[in-house]
Amino acid sequence: MRYVIVGCGRVGAALAEALDNDGHDVTILDTSTRAFDRLSGEFKGQAIRGDGTDEDVLLKAGADGADVLLALTEGDNRNVMAAQVAMEKLNVQKTVAKINDPVRAAAYAELGLATVCRTTMLTDAILGYLAGRPTGMPSVIAPVPHVHADEAGAEGHATPAGSPAAPQGRS
């Protein structure tokens, strides 16, 4: 599959490497070449400097007809725009935009954009962890040695290691 990732932060870089390792064709974009220092020497994909909200830049990066575009910069609006350019103008099949403002994330999910909201994910995960509820996300890993013996029978204190990392409830 052909992936384009906009934003080479920690998440973008980690995903780029994971997808590259799985044998996919990966192109990652960032406005700063220094961001590419996060990629290991073994990364075999392409790293291109440029603004991922600019249609011309995305075209140069080969986004036209790509299978997936992941918009993961630090700017919510840049991510929204990159994902929409990809879907509306470049026929990208699937996009995910990181939107950290929960109101905007919910609004765009309603508009048909797959969104990941760090704010909601972390709040859910932390509150769930504190309440001893399973969250379905391995965001918080329970410190195994400290699980109380009397709770060992209660379900779901420790998060199962293999639980899905995909965002939930998106259509």
């Binding site: 249609e55 919510d76 609006n77 929204v80 350019v85 509306e88 403002d101 109101v103 905007r104 609004a107």
Partner: protein, 225 residues
């Protein structure tokens, strides 16, 4: 009329000022606190010192009862999101976005922004009208991705000496007028085109390549450098 202006740069500031002077109710959102304070000093308490991209603040500034939201920050992506949030989340009847990259105009319209202001396009239009270039000239962008385009025929244009009936014109496009020696006339299918004619066409942006071939020519000798 209640107008919510987002972005307190030069455009947002003067827009707010003019709207107040013409008696409208206006709220200006500016996320930079110092800039917001400076505008409050001049225009009074019409400024909300918060980021208009943030859903919570856009709601608090009264977007759900705004007649118009005008997003005039310096960043296209911010203006797009402000307008989409206003339109789809707060049901604002009319949204206006400033667009810096002319390539974004169609996308913004397609995504539901009602009006586009493009300073780059306007400047480009004025410059192109003054310099003779062997290119198509964009006179106006209309709804539904339609554009009015002008082509000035040079001596090497493949259309010179021919009639519109001889040309291969894209389906979604029509040549409707010719300006010759400063006089505009409707273009008939038997009008013989001459060097120096300005042919006016209306059509979708994706007809441009074919129009260029037919009216300007494809030879690289006609490049602007």
């Amino acid at each position: 009329m209640f107008v919510l202006v987002v972005g307190g740069g030069k455009v947002g500031y003067y827009l707010t000022k003019e709207l107040i002077e013409s008696g409208h109710e206006v709220v200006l959102m500016e996320k930079d606190r110092e800039r917001a304070a400076a505008i409050i000093e001049e225009l009074g308490s019409v400024v909300v010192p918060h980021d208009g991209c943030e859903g919570k603040y856009l709601g608090e500034a009264g977007s759900n009862r705004a007649d118009i939201v005008a997003a005039v920050t310096g960043d296209d992506e911010d203006n797009l999101v402000i307008c989409q949030m206003a339109k789809h989340h707060f049901d604002v009847p009319k949204t206006i976005a400033r667009v810096n990259n002319p390539k974004n105009e169609h996308l913004f319209r397609h995504l539901g922004v009602d009006e586009i202001i493009s300073p780059t396009r306007m400047a480009l239009g004025s410059i192109e009208q003054d310099i003779p270039v062997h290119e198509l000239l964009h006179l106006a962008a209309l709804d539904n991705e339609l554009e009015i385009i002008e082509a000035q025929l040079q001596f090497d244009s493949p259309a010179v000496g021919r009639t519109p009936g001889d040309l291969v014109i894209p389906e979604a496009c029509s040549l409707f007028a010719v300006v010759r020696d400063g006089v505009a006339t409707a273009l008939r299918s038997d009008t013989v085109l001459k060097e120096g004619d300005k042919v006016i066409a209306i059509g979708k942006a994706d007809c441009e390549r074919l129009l260029h071939e037919q009216l300007i020519g494809t030879t690289s000798g006609a490049s602007r450098d």
